[in-house]
Amino acid sequence: MGTSRGVNDFALKIATVNGTGSASANGLLLQAIFRMGLPVSGKNVFPSNIQGMPTWYEIRVSAAGHTARAPRFDLLVALNDATYARDIAELEPGGWVVYDSTWPPPAAVLRPDVEFLGIPLARLCAGAFEGGRERLLMRNIAYVGALAALLGIPLELLDTLLREQYGRKQALMESNFRAVRLGHDYALEHFACPLPLRLEAMEAPDDRILIDGNTAAALGCLYAGATVGAWYPITPATSMMDAFRRFCERYRRDPATGKNRYLVVQAEDELAAAGVVVGAGWAGARAFTPTSGPGISLMSEFIGLAYYAEIPGVFFDIQRTGPSTGMPTRTQQGDLLATAYASHGDTKHVVLYPGDPGECFEMAVRAFDLAERFQTPVFVLSDLDIGMNDWVCRRFRWDDAYRPDRGKVLDAEALERMEAFHRYLDVDGDGICARTLPGVHPKGAYFTRGSGHDRFGRYTEDAAEYVEVVDRIARKIDGAARAVPGPVVEARGGELGIVALGGCDVAVHEALDRLADRGIPADYMRIRGFPFAPEVEEFLLGHAVSFVVEQNRDAQLRSLLTLETRAPKERLRSVRSYGGLPLSAETVVNAVLRSVEVHA
């Protein structure tokens, strides 16, 4: 089951060596296809390395909007000898290979059922550019030019994009123009351009943008009014803090003094980053940290403290492949259980599951509101695929009427009126107690501790006093189930249910269409928050069988659903993909078909 190759519907793969500058060339190509109005995705499959290792860029174009990763390709740009054989094996029969014909391809990899299009990229660039570095870089831009001819991307569009990018660097722009034309003209002269698989501009809704999830989440933090960020660099979360700093330099400088209305602490490790977030949250700032699985492991002690002492903080987990160091540059949804119950003792946390960059933006804002309202750590569970790859999504909108939900925080006037303040007294009966900030009023003082405390905030080792507090916290977190974003349910009138979360969404949508084509309609529920909203259980109980689709080995979402709802375990069938590459529709379709056959 490959893609139905043709106009505006195909998958291509570019195989290069990392550190050679192919990333900007690939970005240019994706941008051009996006500007033509086409639904498109670009997946960077890169090594945990700076130079010399194989790297791939996968582009999927689909007029129908099916832009999940395709496991097989219609066109390959093969520029890495080391992976030649394997790359060519992934081609659909009848596909095309663009290769650098400066050197002949190894005879062993020639496939009779695909067409080889040789372009002497290195030789062309050697003739046109001075110096090894520029020749190497421009070789990448030259293949973009060749692909433009082969796929029907207008040259003027590439020129426009290059001008936008390098407008102030005249020499660089000129070099890029020339390189584009080298590849373009050679392809035009030697091959029948465009190929049967090609691009035709579409009328796209004009509210589309191309953005990655980490940038979107950083923008959410900016808009939510976060002032303190703490982090320790880790792939794939690093670009989120980079983006936050960039936005802050632009939007958070006091125009009169040039001083900053934010502070980013690059901590000595993730333990310290979590400590900074907890300290800042305790003192009344909106604080966050971007991290990944290994960071969550290190932060777990502080997460437990924040849970028990009831301190707000937002933890972005841009998941990568675990366990341990795992594969740092590959994606996974492997931290579902680790975040839901992070830290020792009885703990349960509020977790949000964005499905694309648009939701990274919205849920970042929501996470701060929830953290302050429930006085607890909140996780935003993104992943490498959402966080680091560019996605086509709707423009982000902002409602100027928005005001942060700071929760129950007593100010000086309120404290002045009170007889006495007790930190953990549940006055309203919702499990949420009022808190005070340091420095505001003498009556607001209390002692924050991770050790046993009673409802007055006093140290205790008394069983009943301890139980009273932890039971109230459990009630409080259960109450968050109605405050987290509810699931998105799409009823197609099927007996089967499909359940997923996060970045599985695109692949599941494609799978739903393909299953419907085969006469198997299925209803779909995408979960967006934990603790689960009541609708989650309703959906599961309303379907005889639900397939739980997720990107980890151990069916963590299925485990969570079994633990946290009344859904019988045997009704939940597992569909898993965990090799580190983004989920494909094929995985879902095949698993459902197999299961339906077996149980028929």
Partner: protein, 352 residues
């Protein structure tokens, strides 16, 4: 966020009051649950005196600590201040977050040798690197008290545990460590020497940066016996005061007189003055390398040099390094933080 004047309290008319009209009692906290005679309780008493004499409104202070005997002490002073007993060894990161959020708070961090020199050594070092503005008191007894008497990383070679076994690993000396890491205020004192400790604490509270005060504080239960180098007896016999600190608050005329060449005045950022009186010859408390060399030399001679050993007011603290606005970040109005819909619409054009 506002400050407020504490409510009037019934008090004994004979008790002296400070400029805020508060007595020392107003700076106390809960009753200590530490062992009778614990050095830590003497440090608590010195802290109460230092805060009271400086006329600091208690509720403007945030008291932070980690885990251990020392970390329990913030409950014993300043009951009108927020306290935070965090996780073991991680108080410096909490302090960093609190300071990041609210630069107007006066921070005191209380730690121990297990908390700062073992489990939290990394956090201690990095708080120094940030020149985080905090009075950081290390209540140093060379032993793990709460878990009943294991050696800590500051135990000296040859030091004997209560059951008799000798420590054979080299100690981490927090003063030398702090000096080598670039700490801008480094002092050492002894819990039993209130006359020396109180002025040091006051100077530390006025320091615009990381003010490190290592206080040798004997553990009466597990480390006050023959063979201990952190006992009352050992410390009383070996402590040698090299730099006596007097603290002169801002706008107070300096009346203390010293002979020329014996004293160094250091003007603090808030206008107060720390006057360092040298008791040792050739000691320059503003020369980091000399301070380091002197402490090493005295240690080799079997002495524990005490006093304000090094002070520099020149280095920027965290908020200056990061060029943050003067108002506490936690108090900034949302309108000054959120760029709004028009800015977002414009920004979205860049992602087309």
């Amino acid at each position: 966020m506002t400050t407020s004047i504490p409510k009037p309290k019934v008090r004994h008319p004979a008790l002296p009051v400070n400029a805020l009209g508060l007595t020392r009692r107003d700076y106390e906290g809960a009753v200590s649950t530490l062992c009778a005679g614990c050095g830590h309780d003497s440090i608590t008493a010195a802290l109460i005196l230092a805060f009271w004499e400086l006329d600091i409104p208690p509720h403007r202070v945030a008291k932070l600590s980690g885990i251990g005997c020392s970390s329990k002490t913030p409950t014993y002073f300043l009951r009108e201040a927020h306290g935070f007993n965090a996780v073991h060894g991680r108080m410096p990161s909490i302090a960093t977050g609190v300071r990041a959020a609210n630069r107007d708070l006066i921070l005191i961090g209380v730690s121990g040798d297990g908390d700062s020199l073992s489990i939290g050594l990394g956090q201690f070092c990095h708080a120094i690197r940030r020149n985080l503005r905090v009075l950081y008191v290390l209540e140093n007894n060379g032993v793990y008290g709460l878990t009943k008497g294991q050696f800590s990383a500051s135990a000296d070679v040859g030091s004997r545990a209560k059951r008799g076994e000798a420590n054979r690993m080299a100690p981490i000396d927090p003063v030398l460590l702090a000096l080598s890491l670039g700490a801008t205020f480094v002092a050492r004192s002894f819990s039993g020497d209130k006359a020396q400790l109180v002025p040091i604490l006051k100077a530390a509270l006025s320091h615009r940066g990381f003010a490190f005060v290592d206080v040798i504080s004997p553990c009466v239960t597990f480390n006050d016996h023959e063979g201990s180098t952190k006992s009352y007896r050992y410390t009383r016999e070996r402590a040698r005061e090299v730099v006596y600190a007097d603290f002169v608050p801002p706008r107070v005329e300096i009346t203390v007189d010293y002979g020329a060449g014996d004293a160094v005045d250091v003007r603090m950022h808030d206008g107060s003055i720390v006057r360092l009186r040298k008791t040792g010859l050739d000691y320059d408390p503003t020369d980091r390398d000399a301070a380091y060399a002197y402490v090493r030399e005295r240690q080799r001679a079997g002495e524990v040099p005490t006093g304000l050993l090094y002070l520099s007011e020149a280095e920027p603290e965290l908020h200056e390094l990061e060029a943050t606005v003067d108002a506490p970040l936690a108090t900034l109005p949302f309108e000054t933080l959120c760029p709004g819909s028009a800015a977002l619409d414009a920004l979205m054009e860049e992602y087309r």
